[in-house]
Symmetry: D2
Subunit: 232 residues, 4 copies
Amino acid sequence: MIVTIKKEYDGKQMENLLEWIKTLGLSAHVSNGDNCTIVGLIGDTSKVDIDLLRSLDMVESVTRIQEPFKNANRKFHPQDTIVDVKGHKIGGGHFTVMAGPCSVETYEQVLSIAKDVKKSGAGLLRGGAFKPRTSPYAFQGLGEKGIEILKAVSDEVGLPFVTELMSEKYLDLFVEKVDVIQIGARNMQNFDLLKAVGKTDKPILLKRGLSSTMEEWLMSAEYVMSEGNDKV
Amino acid sequence: MIVTIKKEYDGKQMENLLEWIKTLGLSAHVSNGDNCTIVGLIGDTSKVDIDLLRSLDMVESVTRIQEPFKNANRKFHPQDTIVDVKGHKIGGGHFTVMAGPCSVETYEQVLSIAKDVKKSGAGLLRGGAFKPRTSPYAFQGLGEKGIEILKAVSDEVGLPFVTELMSEKYLDLFVEKVDVIQIGARNMQNFDLLKAVGKTDKPILLKRGLSSTMEEWLMSAEYVMSEGNDKV
Amino acid sequence: MIVTIKKEYDGKQMENLLEWIKTLGLSAHVSNGDNCTIVGLIGDTSKVDIDLLRSLDMVESVTRIQEPFKNANRKFHPQDTIVDVKGHKIGGGHFTVMAGPCSVETYEQVLSIAKDVKKSGAGLLRGGAFKPRTSPYAFQGLGEKGIEILKAVSDEVGLPFVTELMSEKYLDLFVEKVDVIQIGARNMQNFDLLKAVGKTDKPILLKRGLSSTMEEWLMSAEYVMSEGNDKV
Amino acid sequence: MIVTIKKEYDGKQMENLLEWIKTLGLSAHVSNGDNCTIVGLIGDTSKVDIDLLRSLDMVESVTRIQEPFKNANRKFHPQDTIVDVKGHKIGGGHFTVMAGPCSVETYEQVLSIAKDVKKSGAGLLRGGAFKPRTSPYAFQGLGEKGIEILKAVSDEVGLPFVTELMSEKYLDLFVEKVDVIQIGARNMQNFDLLKAVGKTDKPILLKRGLSSTMEEWLMSAEYVMSEGNDKV
């Protein structure tokens, strides 16, 4: 992490900054250039509060060199993550197709589609029971009843299934019945929901939010993983 | 609402479409052009499922002419919305400043700031007790304790306050203690949370989500309002 | 094209509007709803100035139903566009790879790459002689000398080539020596350049500008095509 | 500038890199961490080709600490830029309004507007003679005749004027007659045009391109300034 210091700064403040950096278990390297002074922070900077640093009077800007996420970082576990869903492996070169209807409507509808999905070689069934719709007047999904239908079809056809969780309220139901929990694009930064699913041991399918950066996405994965669930 | 039909279409399908439109309480006007046939839907189209229409084989595209929101629509209540927060009026030409610290840290900190906020003429105090932070390692706010501090300072100084709700889990606490509930940018499309606050009678401060369109924002307001709460 | 009229409007103005629509060779269909009056324009609306319509006092909004481009529109030539570059066909199911170095540096460099490109089965050579670089201090390309190198290698190896034109100033040179003219992302709305290449009979490779909509991109193709060059 | 080196790298390549950095007149500071090695480049890095650095096998990423622009950089001329247009000062706390019609249509139209503009206290007249329009079928402006009209009105009313240049082709005309040259949003990265106006001594009004970053905008100003024209 590189902290650029303003041209005119107070020596006492600099001492305090360097002292504080030391208390974080990091070492600092100061470099005096013509136009600015630069402080390099060396060590594990993933837990440094970058906003706090930026808010200091003497600081012009702060630039991360290393990523602010650790559990979701390849550097700390170079091997591929492989998630096992009832025998279907995801990741590590395994290619899994998850298919199914946008919305769960009826048992017959899902059953008929699930049979085709299985016949076509897909590894998981997917279907929406709780539907995030832009309009409150659009069909909102069957809710709990949709989960029952998915579970029944899943058992009958022998395909694990993934479906979206929109509220912590239904977490117990999902943990009991659902094989993979989807967090949708609109909830990618619903941090309470991320923490909640991070406390389960269910595989999490985390969709990228609209206009999110890759880093924000990985930070959302980090939210889940920092609670103990690394099946993201 | 304008439905553009593909060049080659089935007469029977068209009959079904027109029949279905009638069952929605709308009337249809068909216009045959050289390059396409157009069906105009006349009446209150705010509850028509546009995705369903678009998914029909014979339909090339669907264009809304009227807005898909009604409660949040000026056309249906041309007068300004005025929300009264313990005597402070918001909207309708009233100009209210809400000010306070990013994060609630201590009682003394908030009290000191609140006194300045009041002296400076602001109408509401604001402060974050639950903090939506991109990183799970950044300070997440004091939570419930932060709400207690805000409430105590609010009572002492005589300023109503606004603070962000991130999870339905704390809704009762907010309804009991908080004057204005903020829904933050990242939760603008957390529809379950929108519905939940729509069932309260608390004023809602709804922030616009990153990269959201105006229409998506108004649709989120519509979610709150469609549950009965029009103080958005 | 649908013109939505404001609730309160002047009858005389409406007459003038309908008169004006007629002079454009279009017919108008007026529909009076509860909340607004709608005028549908029927006929070839691609040349209607939508901004002018929008600027009228009585008009609330204007919505296009048909696309504002004609030459670039599938509806007016449903068959695929096939461009022939010295025997290599592009489009209509033909799959052509164009490959080569980012920047032309030396004859030897381009020759060596071009031989590999040909051996690998690509149909065209590409390489930058004029380079659009964000920084004025970055290498700006060899310019005219780069074109000479590309032409010489192209003749020797027997591969037609594509390269980017950044300024009308070099149009004659490009028409004489270059097989396919590339218009880069940053110049997608450099309308004078689009018109200039539209007057040649060279195939044009038009890149999509950053954050451009599909419609803006097609309108840029329309600029080229409206000058007579349909090899876009 | 911070160059992050991959975990496994070749000692010989590192020597070459450090040698090359020296030839650029910069000094290098190498720091070996647990997860990566970092090379800090100290000195004027504004002319370092960051893409070239990034393309090296051993380099994981390159991060700029200092801005890649120099002429457009406050750090190198902390005082405000003040541009004098026939006595009207722009910048440095001077507040200048430029007003006028979107399109120049007739002498009478512009004259009438210019008189109002002057009466209202604006310092410059603006009006479009060459119009960048998304559609080739929309009115493209009066072109050279529009410039004549603007010049005549400007002289008569005693207001300098600004108008948009879309092609180098008309540069001589603009230098002779126009007081301030506008580069529009769509041409913000038309680098040949930027260089061309950089060779004049005319004040340049540079609009920000759609979705451009601040840095890209400043780099476009740098294009103009690097040719000698600092009135941007």
